[in-house]
Amino acid sequence: MSLPSKPAILGLDRVRYSYEENKDVIRDLSFSVSEGGFIGLLGANGSGKSTIMKLGSGILKPSSGTVSLWGKELKKYNNRDRAKLISYLPQTLDITVPFTVKELVSMGLYPYDIPPAMNVEEALDLAGLTNKANALLSDLSGGERRRTFIAMTLVQGAGLLLLDEPLANLDIKYQIELVRLLRKLQESRNIAVVMALHDINIALQFDTVMLIKDGGMIGNGRPETVLTRTMLKQAFDVNMEVKRSDAGRSYVSLENNF
């Protein structure tokens, strides 16, 4: 949800996309991401989350409709200028050669001729990787590896991070750590974060949840308004409910599904 006071960074307007003709995987999707937005893109497997992330980052071009960045059509940007504004992290991070953490983080400088404000050391520090700077990527834990890529996007200096399922295959401890790091960046640096995910408990930590089903948006707003029993049933085909603990914390109750 974009508040009127905050300008929209990314906007999708009636976007359709199909990998094969006449088979839309994304249908008539419109939404916008404002400065400093903290958005969870929630949906079941195959609902179209990854495709939406790729459309938003310009990897895929919409079959119809427009994707715009700061009010200008995304496809009209040259690659380097776009890279200074949006950073995208794909779901799979299979790297076949032995790059070190520092080498990888430094790649965030590639779109620039003159290095931007954030230097590599600062990014490593923010991501808690200073003592791992010279470690090989292959020697890191899953959580550290994800943080390395986040540090790279920091150096890249983009105001919008599109993260495709960054929590997949991470232990719960690292999932929490990563979401906390992103929240810190959003709060301290006003970086907008859009994260595709399918864990409803994690989705509750975001300011905004977009609920996706079959390539269309069925809900967009604060988690407690979007994640209702009916909506969750519609999106995941499971009976569940968001409840509040005595301490005021929200959590998902899976009820009698087993």
Binding site: I86, S87, T96, P98, F99, T100, Y110, L136
Partner: protein, 321 residues
Amino acid sequence: MSKVRITLLAVFAILIAAGSVFLGPRIISPFGISDTDWIILINIRLPRVLVAMLMGMALGASGALLQGILRNPLADPYILGISSGASLTAAIGIIGGMSFLGAFTIPALAFVGAVLTGGIVGGMGWKRGGLWPERLLLAGVGLSFLFSALLMLMMSVSTDEGLRRAMLWIFGDLSMSEWSRIPYGLAFVVTGLLLSATRAKALNALILGDEFAHSLGFAPQRERLVLFIAVGLMTAASVSLGGMIGFIGLLVPHIMRFFLGADSRLLIPASALGGGTLLCIADLISRSLLPPMELPAGVITAIIGAPYFLYLLRRKNVLAI
């Protein structure tokens, strides 16, 4: 730190090249050069060392590029079938006794074969407006088999003399090196190296995957095409200069990665220097060990290089897995 290492490597390469001009079956002292020595140095040794350097540089750099653009640690310049195509056209020339361009005939035929094959592989790897690594790899492997089979067929029906010469050429023959071949070899290898040096950042990004490359501000398909052309030029030049030399393109980039890391900005020049140096040493050994007989340089590179590589493999992290 890395600049120091690459400078050291360059100095080492120059020393080896300079040294191997004076060494051989007849050792020439740089302090007392006779007239005969001058002729040997200028007409035989120097062009040969330069050819070895150029070929080794082309192969080492191409290997580093291909392992990156195909995202496959087993890739080498020969995997794309370029050398098989070159060998086939060269063998047709040798066995058919062609000489329409004089001494240039066989190198020219090899170059044409290499470029044509590169074009066919590129065409087959092309889909939806771009080159796809898996398609390139499979097209290259498929064509390699076809061309090797045709080559075998031709060799099995040819005369003894033609067969022997074709075999020598295929296993890497630097004994035919002469000045006339150097300018065009130099032109293609330098063009390839410059192209790849300017695209080294893009190569690093491509190694992470096309989506990363896009996110970092590159057009992955365009970058891959430019790098593929660089590989094609360098491999074609190398094969046409002196036939096929195994090992360098596959393993020199890995050896350099052990010492200098995976950053392509260092790895490309380092693999070029390492490849050139190794081939110089191998050629020196091949012409000095059992004179007047010459051993195929490609055999020597593998005999020196492979055990060293295996030793490193035991000791260090080769891959990110």
